[in-house]
Symmetry: D2
Subunit: 337 residues, 4 copies
Amino acid sequence: MIVVLKKNPEKKQMQNLISWVENLGLKVHLSEGTNSTIVGLVGDTSKVDIELVRTLDIVESVTRVQEPYKNANRKFHPQDTVVDVSGHKFGGVNFQIIAGPCSVESEKQLIGIAEAVKKAGATLLRGGAFKPRTSPYSFQGMGVDGLKLLKKAKAETGMPIVSEIMSEEHIDDFEDVDVLQVGARNMQNFDLLKKLGKLKKPILLKRGIAATIEEWLMSAEYIMSEGNPNVILCERGIRTYETYTRNTLDLSAIPVLKERTHLPVIVDPSHALGISRFVKPMSLAAVGAGADGLIIEVHNDPTHALCDGAQSLRPEQFEDVVKSVERMLPVVGKELG
Amino acid sequence: MIVVLKKNPEKKQMQNLISWVENLGLKVHLSEGTNSTIVGLVGDTSKVDIELVRTLDIVESVTRVQEPYKNANRKFHPQDTVVDVSGHKFGGVNFQIIAGPCSVESEKQLIGIAEAVKKAGATLLRGGAFKPRTSPYSFQGMGVDGLKLLKKAKAETGMPIVSEIMSEEHIDDFEDVDVLQVGARNMQNFDLLKKLGKLKKPILLKRGIAATIEEWLMSAEYIMSEGNPNVILCERGIRTYETYTRNTLDLSAIPVLKERTHLPVIVDPSHALGISRFVKPMSLAAVGAGADGLIIEVHNDPTHALCDGAQSLRPEQFEDVVKSVERMLPVVGKELG
Amino acid sequence: MIVVLKKNPEKKQMQNLISWVENLGLKVHLSEGTNSTIVGLVGDTSKVDIELVRTLDIVESVTRVQEPYKNANRKFHPQDTVVDVSGHKFGGVNFQIIAGPCSVESEKQLIGIAEAVKKAGATLLRGGAFKPRTSPYSFQGMGVDGLKLLKKAKAETGMPIVSEIMSEEHIDDFEDVDVLQVGARNMQNFDLLKKLGKLKKPILLKRGIAATIEEWLMSAEYIMSEGNPNVILCERGIRTYETYTRNTLDLSAIPVLKERTHLPVIVDPSHALGISRFVKPMSLAAVGAGADGLIIEVHNDPTHALCDGAQSLRPEQFEDVVKSVERMLPVVGKELG
Amino acid sequence: MIVVLKKNPEKKQMQNLISWVENLGLKVHLSEGTNSTIVGLVGDTSKVDIELVRTLDIVESVTRVQEPYKNANRKFHPQDTVVDVSGHKFGGVNFQIIAGPCSVESEKQLIGIAEAVKKAGATLLRGGAFKPRTSPYSFQGMGVDGLKLLKKAKAETGMPIVSEIMSEEHIDDFEDVDVLQVGARNMQNFDLLKKLGKLKKPILLKRGIAATIEEWLMSAEYIMSEGNPNVILCERGIRTYETYTRNTLDLSAIPVLKERTHLPVIVDPSHALGISRFVKPMSLAAVGAGADGLIIEVHNDPTHALCDGAQSLRPEQFEDVVKSVERMLPVVGKELG
């Protein structure tokens, strides 16, 4: 970390800064020039609060040389992490497609979709039991009963299941769930992250709606520093000023992440735009950008016609997406399954 | 709610939409024109998922006429809500100044600051015991021990205390804390909000770093719909592209909120900019915009010199802010205390 | 356009609004309910200033049913527009790759790059003669001399040329330039757009760094409404809070534009991220999203080593991008050239 | 400027970088550590393209120690610049209120408003003759005829006039206009800025809708580096994700600017929020934040009732704003006029 001090810094404040840094176990390299003084901090600077240093009166600017994340950092772990979910691998040359309904609504609905998406090529089943909703007046999900239906669908189809956990109080209920999803709104629910770090299960960590890539990796670090290395990142769109789309899918983040971290990264093209007819082009774009997988909403209940045309695809549309994705994978050196 | 359908909507889909709406207990007014069909929904539309309707194939656009929040809505509660904290009133013509250290660090530090800010004019004492930190390697706060020190400071100074709660597991520990703060990162931790709604205590609800005003009011609604009307909103800066300031303090939100809701709104000028020398102008700006109070970080530990110049003011600087604020309050028809 | 009025609107203001609307040649459909009054405007509402109506005291909300752009609107022109540049077609099943240096620096440099990119598969040559620079102290481009070199390169290689115009004063200098580029900073330089609308030449209209898709289409409309239908849109990244990338490439905009407009859309993967090693994945992502072409910076001057590794690719890296793009095009039903 | 290189940088690339820097007339201080090499650039680094350096393969990060703006920089010009417009001073302890209609529409309208705002306390008159409009189908302003009416109003009331210039072609028409305004959309129309830098007249430079403070100061630098020191900055709201307000008025920018530059800064509370009833609180907030003036839209035409309630105040509302502002000015040590 390099701290540039203002011209003629107050000596006592400078000495205070140096003592504080040394108390953290770091070495200080001081270089005093005519126009500015440069303080280099050498050692493990991940414990230095950069925001605090930046706001000191005597400080002009602070530059991190070392990233604040360690476990998630590709510099210290050059090979791709491959997260194995019952034989389905995330990372490396592997590509996974997770599919299923937004919310679990009934056994018939869920089993129907599970069979349809399996047939179409999906490798894991998703389904929401606990639903984070902006409004307290909206349906909040089936809860524990929804998890039971997911386990039934897993038993019938053999597909591993992925579902969102919203509170540390429910961890026991997720025992047979293969991948625990942390939603965008909980990306910085640090108490929850720490608890998930004590498990060994794969955690699907969605990017917060306005999280920087660095904050996202720091949240992965919360999980990993507690002992759980099985983190799968999921880009799902960020908040911008644009209003024609619900969110802006940040595919630029994929190659950046591939360089910074060894963790697998998948993309959710359903939620970002919120419109099913854009799922196909954005899925292909995600493949081009280098993603390790997709998570796609599929709905098949013909009697629940309201959802037609919303962000969920029908099974036949989903099959068409899978086919195009499979044609594209060889160009980026990946394969499905 | 007004739903404009696309030209020549598919009849079956339109009928599905109408049935779905009627099942929610709403009435439908249909007006078919040559270029578009307009569906007006009459009744309590707060239960309608506008995102879902917007994404239907046959829908061109959706406009809410009725806001999705009810308890927080000024239309249904025209008078200002006044939240009373041991005689200190938030809302109406009252103005409160909450002050104290970022983190509770020791008894000596806390009591020292508490006495200093009280003397300078602060009406409530703040202090962080549980600290939400981006990095797992940063100091996470003193926890329950910090709360104990806060209660001591309350006993010695008579000032009500404000502290942040990060997990529903700690609710019992906050029993003697007067105001429970929900931080920006937990603004949409819905499980936590529901639990706080079952209390009767004042909740200081900070705006999420990228939350819209509507989402913020919906989070207040989570608390209020469970039975707790004592919500104080706190603007603390939003995330934008600007990098010279840590966040952009959105003072435009104050008059907008004053029109939309009856809840009191205070401003945190310390965190938004992250620089103590900007606290004074932004405090005066908040008064001008119509805020009902301020929450300001103050630090007095001369041996802990690192924090000089950071976002915390020294007591004498804080006193200067209070004096200017007091001179300005009559212009906006408010008074301190 | 649907205007929802507040409950019990002041009669005189409502009458004023209706008269004003009727004076614009529109018809008014009034529907008075118990809770709100709905005013439907029928006719060509593109001349109605929606911002103005939205801010009236009596107005609760305004919804456009008809988009404000007409010439650019796919509703009135369902077929793809195909812009022909000396036989190279933008739009439909065609895919074009424009390549060349950021700035024209010398004849040797330009001809060298031109030959290299042509060999690698580029179909048009780009090069900056007038450079919009944030700082007045940065190199502002070779100006008219740069244009002369571009024309030489065109004569030698047969490739059509693309260059940025920054001021209406230079229109005559661009006479032999095949495609005139409007940069992000000038996307709402309306005087310039109107002048370009009087030409017949293809205009490459880059998206403003914080422009909405609608504003972008309205800027296309400025050109088209003056009589020039040959507009090619170019997505080049938008400004967000993320700092690991220079801008966020908004590939979600591609399928949205394909639905809203008949104009061709290309992508600039060099400027958005600003890093050459991300050009390949973002180029493939752009193909997946449905773009009609790419514009890529290529640099070949081995003595000018500073630029190695910056946003410009070397010719051999560019060739690798072209090859992968060509493998991917059949999946989206397009072909190069 | 401090350039941190990656571990084990390629020697030839490092040498290229050093040669390039030295060719720019700068000195290089090299400090090679075990984990990173630090290159310090000493001298006038305003000519170094930081974006270019940042994207080099061997570079880890770049930190500016010296700001890229010189003429606008308070470090080199510690005293406040005071811009004098016919005796009305912007900057220092002075506070100005510019008021008038959004668009000039007729002599009667303009003279009426001019007299009303003068009586209410305004010190300068504003009025739009050339109007930048998102849509080509909206009214584009009266043009040169509007300027003539402004000059008449100036002759009748003695108030200096402020109007927006959109193209360098109109500079002669603005000869008798006292302050030339550059709108948000033209903040980076560099050809226009350079031309205005050749004048001696005060330039009111609005912040671009998504411009950083640094970009804004660099645009001021374009004007100042051509010889015109009379620049007045105007904050008018920035684009964020929030939709309840048209833009987010960035009052945090005021104290930041006051520290970085010696130029006067005023605030436009009418355009940012777009709603007249929010003009008063945001005007008072601007005073609190330390602004040197306000520019406010006022409308007085009772027959042109459409505009009632929009972003323009009526004269009696404007007078109320002026009175409150005057009560608040002593608290911040300023006075009107």
